[in-house]
Symmetry: C2
């Protein structure tokens, strides 16, 4: 069951003494801004890798304190949110696990859940704390803390992926956290999450990238780029996302993504077949099914989120 969209207009007041954000980019920065705006924690500490990022954090106000020291960052935190690329999460966790406050809740915002949960759940449990995965379905093709927004999670769906081993009060605390910064939550098994986002998010990223590569190939005639308009711009928007991040995600969700690509190619082949035969009825049906499914999805989304 999906929780309701409460918006971030509710004032929740201080709930956490210290929240630590590990990696203060678009998502981490937006969490920091939302937590601070809603006064959800006394201290909002950010761990960053580079000296320059400390100044960025200060400038944007995403955290109340930024540090290059992972132990200082995590020590005493009630809630730790990992917002780095998924490939870095394990080694970072290994660096801070010994300073974790007993009973602390640790989560992440990675786009793939099964490998992250498998690695972090036992590691954090051994330290007497609780790991539960999260995936807020919000973002932007822009990266970095300067693109962060306090309202990024407003009415966004955030998937929480508890397992049979999850500590129930930690799961509830995590749900409250996401609600408090405006998100709607849904609980899904990590494997099921990965299968679903393979289609809804990872496939569109690959498709958009393939389209941008193919159409804007320098080998195409010089007028090609001039004939790309708004439709092309929107269809390829997510192709401007971070290449490193999406390479990581693709590998981490390899099997589900491969399956989604295969089914998508089959869909294109069906269209291609109807086109070869100039089967106007089949072609109209193809576009019509697409339109009616998307319009119904947009209408349902509009009703619940207002956008």
């Amino acid at each position: 069951m999906l929780s309701q969209c409460e918006g971030s207009s509710l004032n929740f007041g201080v709930r956490w003494q210290k929240i630590t954000i590990v990696g203060v980019g678009l998502l981490g920065g937006s969490i920091g801004l939302a937590v601070r705006k809603n006064r959800l924690a006394r201290h909002v500490v950010g761990f960053v890798r580079r000296e320059a990022s400390i100044a960025d954090c200060r400038q944007t106000g995403a955290v109340s304190h930024a540090t290059l020291d992972i132990e200082e960052a995590v020590s005493g935190a009630d809630l730790v949110v990992l917002c780095t690329p998924i490939g870095q999460m394990r080694s970072l966790a290994e660096q801070f696990v010994h300073v974790l406050k007993p009973g602390a809740v640790v989560t992440d915002v990675g786009s793939v859940k099964l490998p992250v949960v498998r690695q972090l759940e036992p590691l954090i449990a051994n330290a007497g704390a609780h790991f539960v995965g999260s995936h807020p379905m919000a973002g932007s093709e822009k990266a970095g803390v300067h693109a962060a927004r306090a309202d990024l999670f407003n009415c966004a769906v955030c998937v929480i992926t508890p397992t049979a081993r999850s500590h129930k009060p930690a799961v509830r605390q995590l749900e409250q956290f996401w609600h408090a910064i405006g998100a709607r939550t849904i609980k899904l098994d990590p494997a099921k999450h990965d299968a679903l986002v393979g289609f809804s998010s990872h496939l569109p990223h690959v498709v958009a990238a393939a389209l941008a590569r193919r159409v804007l190939d320098p080998a195409r005639p010089k007028e090609q780029a001039l004939l790309c308009a708004e439709g092309f711009k929107d269809t390829t928007r997510v192709a401007s996302s971070s290449p490193e991040m999406w390479s990581d995600i693709a590998v981490a969700n390899k099997r589900n993504l491969a399956r989604a690509i295969d089914m998508f190619i089959a869909e294109l082949r069906a269209f291609r077949f109807a086109l070869d035969r100039e089967d106007a009825r089949a072609l109209t049906k193809f576009f019509d099914t697409a339109k009616s499914r998307r319009d119904a999805w947009c209408a349902a989304r509009q009703t619940t989120t207002g956008r």
Copy 2:
């Protein structure tokens, strides 16, 4: 060479006595609104098929007079703009060709040019008037005159497709017309236009439709639609366009579109191959090339159009 973007802020004053728009939907209506706003013609007449459309025209102010009578609509016009689906253009032209004013300029706004030019150029020439094709690269997934906007063509690229037989003053008049409603023009051979838009516009429409169909297939798990977010929404936006119109376009540009789909599938297969081998370097390069090509395109577009 592409003309500059002048915007529609210039006041051109009355240049045409009568401009006729055949089919007053999104594009026709937007042309009407822009012509009237810029006072480019004394009379802006719209031909529509249904009685109800006359009321819509009155309500939106897209034309100064709307009629169900094609002869009345076209008679005495200096400029006739065909804004119907491409499949209807020939039969409509056959109905009005005998009332065309000698020397009148006739154009269309169809998304495919070679079949339209081949059909209409000789037909209009026989009546002592001049046909030259146009394709303004602007639109919306929304249809109908209620979605029309006077600024739809502001800084949009409009392709004009003269042939060796085109009357040069008619081509110049058509360029001036598009400039006067804010567009930038580029002249291309009709066949070359069709090859280019097969990639830049028609392929993205098929891809977006295939994505919406595949991901929102009712056979997918019930949580699938909830996990579709902003990226999915933008990538599939053009899948909400008119199914009949896009089926027509696909058939009319069959060979170019088929070639674009084949090359696009090859692109996906290359990605799929790198994914199978977990070749992180190849995957990163795939996403990186896409991002750099798209970012460069966006930057160039921003410079010339401000959007």
